[in-house]
């Protein structure tokens, strides 16, 4: 039986020590694309937390109760990507019909993360690290939390540096990447927590 202490270790290591964007480079597209304003970044972060937590729970169940008993572990990539895509579509329809407030808050971001590599990445990491369903879900939540932390910090920095006087060719994407690099150095400091 997995203990609370182990879950806490997963929570900290997945959200801070090996941050999904800054040390594993997953989910870079939304990280660079939707980080202009703190508000939109927070919305994206919320949607990512919601989808990744849910999808890692569902893919965990499918892996342990369907693929393992049938000896079909090699099918995991195909099954996971289809389940995730279907799940996101389903969640979107469900929210649209029944939970309007949540749909308004997260709705526009949901189609954007259907096949975001972080979602599939977490599902595959859970299998690779042999996490059970509960540990996998916690890992999913922690990873998404790490993504949200990173994207909100980046959006904050971008809002501050928006009108700074950079050289013409460094303006825009290069500056965002340098900022992300400096953040990655800062996050390297969390490695000491292990």
């Amino acid at each position: 039986m997995i203990q609370v202490k182990d879950l806490l270790v997963i929570l900290i290591s997945s959200s801070l020590v090996s941050n999904v964007v800054l040390s594993q480079f997953l989910g870079l597209c939304p990280f660079l694309g939707v980080s202009k304003k703190i508000d939109t970044a927070a919305g994206m972060g919320g949607a990512v937390i919601f989808v990744i937590t849910l999808s890692s729970a569902v893919t965990g169940c499918i892996y342990h109760y369907l693929l393992v008993p049938l000896n079909m572990e090699y099918m995991q990539t195909i099954v996971f990507i289809l389940v995730i895509a279907a799940l996101v579509q389903f969640v979107e329809m469900f929210l649209k019909k029944y939970v309007d407030s949540l749909y308004k808050a997260l709705g526009v971001y949901l189609p954007l993360i259907t096949t975001n590599c972080a979602v599939l990445g977490v599902a595959l990491t859970n299998v690779q690290k042999e996490y059970g369903i509960l540990a996998g879900t916690v890992n999913g939540f922690a990873t998404a939390l790490g993504f949200t932390i990173a994207i909100i910090i980046l959006a904050g920095i971008r809002e501050k540096t928006q009108y700074n006087d950079f050289p013409e060719s460094v303006k825009g994407m290069p500056m965002v990447l340098i900022t992300a690099g400096l953040m990655a150095i800062a996050f390297c400091g969390f490695a000491g927590l292990n």
Partner: protein, 259 residues
Amino acid sequence: MSKCLERLYNGIVKENPTLVLMLGMCPTLAVTTSATNGLGMGLTTTVVLALSNMIISMLRKVIPDKIRIPAFIVIIASFVTMMQLLLQAYIPDLYKSLGIYIPLIVVNCIILGRAEAYAYKNPVLPSLFDGIGMGLGFTIALTIIGMLREFIGGCSFFGMELGWFTPVAIFKMAPGAFFVLALLCAIQNKIKIAGAKKGKDVSKIQSGCSNDCMNCTLECDHKKYDDIEITQEDIESTAKINAKAIEKELERVGKEAEK
């Protein structure tokens, strides 16, 4: 035949996915810790890209328009799984060092983008060469970035120790990837600005457009979805709703704290 050669040139030089369009950034940053890894990842992606382009082009009249994206994903995922098993069996070293990034080729936006933009609309042979060209363009870019990072970060060349200077280890670590990409981007910007001054068409450079709007988070004015339209207004109104919800929550927490 000239059309096939044109596709190769287009993929490697004119619309190079990494160096010109800036696509598929996740694998580009993650696996380029050494030139060998970059080369391996690039070639694996090339095989998947060429084969999936070919099959999708063959089936383009069979696949109904409405379910084309899931159909593409199944085809791509099958080839990725095949490549994963082949690598595991015959090149276990590469399989170990690329790890989770091999199955993640499925969500590489270059592949789905090419299926959507080219293979679904064109005959088999040009589609195959389009895949090979794009794949080789990706491979070359990844190998160059890998060589650069390996040289600065480890002072070695394809695994050979050179020992010319003390390596700057941070270039092999995560931050180095961001810095190298920032440098690449700055060079692109420089070319773009110079080209615009001379009146050349530079709209493709750094456009990041894979024609795969489903997974795209870029800001552009021609976003297309099957049935959902996202406009800037939607995003802004969502942001406002979020802000209000957060304010309410803060008020509630404040009141509770007062109690």
